[in-house]
């Protein structure tokens, strides 16, 4: 989230598209109701199903799964055509006026630079025209046909209301009504917030779904302001934290990139990360990249990371492919390229697409380790549970270790919520039996390995022998010590260049501004610098005071970065530093410095007249309507059909699906066609369940005890399916036999003139826990991900549905 949960109450319009907050994030959704009641906000919901969020909406429109970009590009076209944009904001704070290189083009579904063999783009033409000083050329009058706003106009011109409706099935009048409501927030003192979750991410165009709305928000001047922003509601309690700390194949803590084979030396690595400003005088904060990397290496390798060994650069693994994501991991397992797999609090047999492929992959491993408080399906993949998990145990050679861990109530530590707050929590009791914390288990495995490498040697032991482990209790390091290590400390006496203040060696740092690239500071996660200082554990703060009751609560816990609660908040004020919305200012310029209820996302004394842009992480200082080379699938968003779609792409039938989607050959052969699988399916979550955990909890297992699918009345009638009757739902990858919930909540859509039915598939059942056994929605789902992140396409795929009889009781 760019903003906070409570800040939603400041919105004038709330758009929930790509999520269902009322059911999936109920206690956060109360702030939407607060916005409606206290601020007269209008709630717009666009969703394939009439969800509980839709039930309290002021306006609801249905949409075919996987067509959000068509809808949103149509919205951008509407805003530009009606001139309903926040002109001064767009002109000063976005790259609308920057001029794009001549070589950049788009035709027949492809951007310039496409390579058909590699299914990827040479993105060199996706950039600005530079002047002799290396700055992007600009036309503030927007007359140049090559400036971003004009190229954008041209790009979205195809997305007429007729076309939007033809692709998405959303009736034209509903689409236009929503456009009109949203356009109202182009007024400088009006704000719209966008709330989204997996409904946008779990598509082969997931990243572009979100990007399109971010562009809408920039055009409307809704980023950085109270009641605005792009708000990813996020899933698990600490998935934000695990992402922040870089537990992803290509990341290091604080969104630093793991090196690649193309960067053999530290200098090569840094050459791609200079972030030279693209406009005069811009901050381009990533210019400090080197400080963050060196400080990280000092935290991880201590005295062994030196200037002479390039801060132990060679000890970092290098990547030969963009990602070793989970879809790739299971492809590797199926190709006999993997020996072992460790699942820490993760249940991939339930959570990842094409369950049959997941089961086959696990069966090919030499060993599998699960660490979990609960008895997961993954840890029992080798056991026969009937049709829900057919397995021949004696033929499966995988050694399996099921390790019991403590849960949230049984340990101290911090979690990062979707608003980037780090909140500390405390242990209430010991875990059951012999359960141990993940910290104890990881330490136990590590110590054994290190001891073996010390005694016997082996493949490249250096990083293992040198990783820092100076904890008071090395067997089970105290979370506070780990938190301090992430925060960082001075390794030598540091003197502040401007104030002359000295930070003594050994002192915990106050923030990332104190970091150096000469080995005199260590910080395990630079964006967390300031979370645990000499003043104590900032994450444990519990002062809920909220100036002007505006939803900031600056002294409750601690938010990264630098305890800032609203990102890009410089953009909440006009170029002169006056708040766009005087009733809800966030920060403003008082003549000498920036003041307000939040920590400025800007130099605290940088004068408005200096013309420094509010998007300080970007080299041009501006929000990007044109993404340069940042996205795999294009600098502008384009509608591509899901990999399994009932129709061809009417805009460019030859390039129907995302042309840069990575599809493995065996996965492609497992895609079905609309001839055999005529219905669109979409997976979702119920308010009574959380993923595959709560079926282990008695109350939740009673509330929603068994697997079902949701089918509209029209289709049910057509297929003779009764309320509560048994159905067989099949995709090319497998079938689920369960009960049908016949509903008014899903109605057929007219897509390209043809009726299209959508089937809802809740995800929660498996074969362990207290609920009844289920096949799991991932029995049906296709193994393909978003072209940028490889997030699986769980939200749009093809199935067939048939009436069947009740299974014979076992």
């Amino acid at each position: 989230m760019t903003n906070t949960w409570q800040d939603i109450k400041n919105a004038n319009v709330v758009v929930v598209m790509g999520g269902n907050a009322a059911e999936a994030h109920p206690c956060g959704f109360k702030w939407v109701i607060e916005a409606k009641i206290e601020n007269g906000a209008k709630l717009i919901v666009v969703d394939p199903r009439f969800t509980r969020t839709a039930s309290v909406a002021d306006y609801y429109a249905p949409i075919r799964p996987g067509t959000d970009i068509a809808f949103l590009n149509g919205l951008i076209r509407y805003l530009l055509e009606k001139d309903a944009i926040q002109h001064e904001y767009v002109r000063a704070y976005t790259n609308a006026g920057l001029i794009v290189k001549d070589g950049f083009a788009f035709a027949d579904g492809l951007f310039s630079g496409y390579n058909e063999e590699t299914h990827s783009y040479d993105k060199s033409s996706w950039d600005y025209e530079l002047d002799k000083d290396g700055f992007a050329k600009s036309d503030d009058t927007w007359q140049d046909p090559r400036c971003v706003i004009n190229l954008l106009k041209q790009h979205v011109s195809r997305y007429t209301p007729e076309m939007v409706s033809r692709i998405s099935g959303t009736p034209q009048d509903k689409f236009l009504h929503i456009c009109d409501l949203i356009a109202g927030t182009a007024a400088p003192d009006k704000a719209m917030t966008s709330l989204f979750a997996l409904g946008w991410t779990q598509h082969s165009v997931g990243s572009q779904n979100i990007r399109t709305m971010a562009m809408v928000q920039l055009l409307l001047g809704n980023i950085g302001v109270a009641g605005g922003g792009m708000n990813a509601l996020r899933g698990h309690s600490n998935i934000q934290g695990l992402t922040d700390i870089g537990l992803l194949s290509n990341l290091m803590p604080g969104y630093l990139n793991l090196p690649t084979d193309k960067e053999p030396s530290f200098d090569d690595y840094m050459k791609t990360k200079l972030y030279k400003p693209l406009r005069p005088g811009q901050t381009s904060y990533w210019q400090n990249y080197r400080k963050f990397v060196v400080s990280l290496q000092k935290a991880i390798y201590g005295d062994a990371a030196t200037k002479d060994n390039n801060w132990a650069y060679d000890w970092l693994p290098k990547l030969d492919v963009p990602l070793y994501d989970i879809i790739k991991a299971f492809e590797m397992m199926n190709n006999d390229q993997m020996t072992g797999y460790i699942c820490q609090g993760f249940n991939p047999l339930q959570a990842f697409p094409d369950r049959g492929k997941i089961r086959r992959g696990l069966s090919k491993l030499k060993f599998l380790v699960t660490m979990d408080p609960l008895d997961t399906e993954t840890s029992r993949f080798w056991q026969d549970f009937g049709p829900q998990n057919p397995a021949k145990s004696t033929e499966i050679q995988t050694e399996v270790f099921q390790l019991p861990t403590t849960c949230f109530a049984e340990e101290n530590g911090s979690l990062v919520n979707s608003a980037r707050w780090l909140q500390w929590h405390w242990k209430a009791a010991d875990g059951p039996g012999e359960a141990q914390s993940d910290i104890w288990i990881m330490s136990g495995i590590f110590h054994r390995l290190r001891e073996m490498y010390r005694k016997e040697g082996g493949a490249f032991p250096d990083p293992i022998l040198n990783v820092t482990w100076k904890y008071t209790d090395p067997i089970s390091p105290d979370p506070e010590e780990l938190a301090k290590e992430m925060n960082g400390r001075a390794l030598a006496d540091l003197t502040d260049a401007t104030t002359g203040a000295v930070t003594k060696a050994g002192t915990l740092l106050d923030g990332f501004a104190q970091l150096h690239d000469d080995g005199t500071t260590a910080s395990g996660c630079w964006i967390f610098a300031g979370s645990f200082t000499e003043k104590g554990n900032q994450m444990a703060r519990r002062d809920a005071t909220d100036p002007r009751e505006q939803g900031i609560a600056p002294n409750w816990a601690w938010a990264w970065p630098a305890n800032r609660r609203i990102l890009y908040n410089r953009a909440s004020a006009d170029p002169e530093g006056k708040p766009w919305n005087p009733a809800k200012p966030v920060i403003s310029w008082n003549g000498t410095r920036w003041v307000g209820i939040d920590v400025p996302d800007y130099g605290p004394t940088v004068k408005p007249s200096d013309g420094v842009g509010p998007f300080i992480m970007n080299a041009e200082g501006m929000g990007r309507l044109f993404a340069r080379d940042m996205m795999a699938d294009g600098p502008f968003p384009e509608h591509y059909e899901p990999l399994e779609s009932p129709v061809e792409n009417v805009l460019h039938p030859k390039v129907s699906a995302n042309p840069v989607a990575r599809v493995f050959a065996d996965d492609r052969s497992a895609f079905g066609s609309p001839k055999n699988f005529p219905y669109v399916a979409t997976t979702y979550r119920l308010t009574e369940h959380f993923h595959y955990w709560t079926k282990h909890a008695l109350i939740n297992a009673i509330l929603q005890p068994e697997e079902f699918v949701e089918i509209g009345e029209v289709l049910a009638k057509e297929k003779g399916i009764e309320q509560g009757g048994w159905v067989k739902v099949s995709s090319k990858r497998g079938e689920v036999v369960c009960k049908a919930y016949v509903t008014k909540r899903i109605k057929p859509l007219t897509v390209d003139g043809k009726p299209t039915h959508v089937i809802g598939v809740p995800i929660h059942w498996g074969f362990t826990g207290q609920a009844r056994k289920g096949y799991g929605a991932n029995t049906l789902t296709p193994s393909v991900g978003d072209a940028n992140t490889q997030t699986p396409e769980f939200k749009a795929f093809l199935v067939n549905v048939e009436k069947t009889s009740a299974p014979v009781a076992a």
């Binding site: 460790i342 949230f408 979690l415 929590h425 209430a428 009791a429 059951p432 073996m452 996660c525």
Partner: protein
């Protein structure tokens, strides 16, 4: 009389003395009736602040356990409710969070390490030492066999691709950081989390 919620609970629980009941506005008959009511069970419990383990709204919760954390006492969690002081959830919990007690005490909570040998038809309980020794041995065998120090072009790459790890999504930052240190010092690259699902 101004009282915080917690003081109120403490106050009403402390033996329900007549004078205090008077302050709470009970009459004489009310006092008698209140005295007969079983003392509110949470007054004897230890209160611990925590965060709901499910979604990332991160509702504040209060966990109540029996046992005073004395060295020889084993705490038992008896009740979990929303934290009224928390600025986001303000004491509320959803259908998932309201049932947190049932996940803490789920009958399928694991209590001992278990092992299933190749071709085995069931799990058997093993010691932690057996499990961790064997896991470390298997990891080292594979790492020593498949570690890639240099790629085909001769560039130093120091990566290990044949053993992978999925990290948790409800574990703490501190667990995540320690896990990152271990995985990356081994050169592991098949490394992912639950951000996508």
């Amino acid at each position: 009389m101004a009282m915080t919620r917690r003081e109120f609970i403490k106050f009403t629980g402390l033996g329900l003395a007549a004078s205090s009941l008077g302050m709470l506005g009970f009459g004489a008959s009310g006092e008698a009736q209140a005295a007969a009511v079983r003392p509110f069970k949470l007054t004897h419990a230890t209160e611990t602040r925590n965060t709901c383990t499910y979604c990332s709204v991160a509702c504040g919760i209060l966990i109540y356990s029996m046992g005073d954390r004395a060295k020889n006492a084993r705490s038992n969690i008896i009740h979990i409710e929303g934290d009224p002081d928390h600025p986001v959830n303000r004491g509320t919990l959803c259908p998932k969070g309201s049932a947190l007690l049932d996940i803490v005490h789920a009958p399928t909570r694991l209590k001992a390490p278990r092992y299933r040998p190749p071709g085995g038809t069931e799990f058997k309980e093993v010691s932690w030492d057996f499990a961790l020794d064997r896991i470390a041995t298997l990891m080292k065998e594979d790492r020593d066999k498949h570690f890639i120090a240099k790629n085909a072009a001769g560039t130093t790459v120091n990566r290990w691709t044949s053993t992978g790890m999925l990290a948790a999504s409800a574990s703490s930052n501190e667990t995540a950081y320690l896990t990152w240190k271990v995985a990356r010092s081994l050169g592991m690259v098949v490394f992912d989390n639950q951000a996508r699902v």
